[in-house]
Amino acid sequence: MSVLLIVPVVGPLLAAAVLLALPDRLMLRRIVALLATAAVTAVGVVLLVATYDGGVPVLRVGGWPPVVAITLAADPLSALLVTVSAAVVLACLVAAAGTRDDRRRAFLPLTMVLSAGAYGAYLTTDLFNLFVLVEVMLVPSYVLLALSGGAGRAGAGRVYIATSLLGSTILLAGVGLVYGVTGTVGLADLAGVAREVPAAAVAGGVVLLAFALKGALVPLHDWLPRAYPVASPVVVALFSGLLTKVGLYAIIRIYAVLYGGDPAYHPLLVAVALASMVIGVLGAIGVGSMRKVLAFHMVSQIGYVLLGLALFTAASLAAAVFYLAQYVLVKAALFLCAAVVRATRGTDRLSRLGGLASSSPLLALAFGVAALSLAGLPPFGGFLAKFLVLRAANEVGDWLVLTVAVLVSLVTLLSMLKIWGVAFWGEVPRAARERTARPGVALLGPPLALGGCALLLGPLGGPLLQVADAAAAGLLEPAGYVRAVSGR
């Protein structure tokens, strides 16, 4: 069983190597990439089943003793995130075949390496390997952004690389400080250390700062809406499903294990969460392309997940995990809708769009479902997620949090309605009348499938909710994870 843990890391890396060696047969290359990702998805599901009742499969690569070995481990949170990310990568690969993003030779290998880094970051159990795997994930993303970007990609690429590099430098410094203070970088040996040793709390704070930058939390969010929207929509969907979520996962994991959910940091986390929600959603009002609107909503939605973490009760953590999983799917669906719009109309600027609902009703269906789920309307998965966060906040009795969360989801709905009203209703612009292409199955399939997930997660969200409960229990009481990983 635990041997399977190596598959999500090594499988895509091997696929990348094979893809580099393969001749220029696009269909063959697509099949290799899809097979590798499908294998990871299957392994993710197997791990979910294995971790569901509290088991923690652990793999010490090469059979080295615990101190020296690279240790991989899965708990419900890691298994869920690996599964969901692999599903998003799968959808993006299909959509890339539709938009022909993957005709560039480097696209598929880079995507494979990027996803391997993300899966590895979810499964690793030590801070230094977390740094290495985050780098494995980020380096291909620099190239993907530069390859796929449209106008303004040079400037956006510089912003993105400079911010990411700064974050990585801070992260490495933080890891060094943690090692200097505690003499270890293994998460299992660091459990609860920040509650006992103040210097370790400071060192851990440096690591958290780096991940806050990578996860684009306010006030460190400014790079994201500048950098992401220049990349092609498929690449942005990939980035939104993997990159910032790894930062968020690391914050959740480190706060739960290192700090043991120390309530002393509660006000700070709540403040950052609320600021992210409000500033992200307000930023989305003033911008003019689908990708930019959606990029600002990324900042805002991350706030809800952080809010669940900040409250640190069983209910709120389960809400955060549920929110994270459904949000990754919904956001990917929305960006892939933008990909369809851009592939068929040649642009996703709102001022040049109109009449999409009549020209491609299936696209309108996919976008409508995903957008309403993002705004949190019943009966979609997003409603259940928001409801769970609000209920957890209500249990704590925090009225400010409740009010802000409800208002932010109202504004989210407004800006989704703005996209709908301008791009989907309204007149078809004259320029678009002759050059509108019909979207194919590869283009429309992924957003429809992901939108379908968002719809099903509402009435049929029970299984995911149970997984989220198991993940929350593991975060609240990490003793089982720690015991399994440290091997003592």
């Binding site: 190239v143 040079a154 400037g155 956006a156 510089r158 912003v159 690389i161 430098t169 890891v175 060094g176």
Partner: protein, 107 residues
């Protein structure tokens, strides 16, 4: 005392270069910051133990783990530096002067 001093000077110089206009300075700034972090990692293992960390080393043998960290970090920094320089060269080859500000907008 020398460890913190070296880290401090390197970080100061690196941040200074990052805040200057021009992309080559950005690259050099990150190189200096990378060095600073490597010295920090070395210091995290203790600078007073200098013996080589070979099998069965005595109490004065250095901590091998930070050295392994640094080796990994150097490889990553080197790769990214080369990529940044490549981007810079591509911009230069296109005949466009690299913009003065880091995001290409007005200063």
């Amino acid at each position: 005392m020398s460890g913190p001093l070296i880290v401090g000077v390197l970080v100061a110089a690196g941040v200074f270069l990052l805040l200057r206009p021009g992309q080559l300075r950005l690259v050099l700034g990150f190189v200096l910051l990378g060095h600073a972090v490597n010295v920090l990692l070395l210091a995290a293992g203790g600078l007073h133990r200098r013996e080589p960390p070979v099998d069965g080393g005595g109490p004065e043998s250095a901590d091998p783990l930070p050295q392994a960290f640094i080796l990994t970090a150097i490889v990553i920094t080197f790769g990214i530096t080369v990529y940044l320089l490549r981007l810079l060269r591509r911009a230069a080859r296109r005949g466009s002067r690299p913009p003065e500000t880091w995001d290409g907008g007005p200063r």
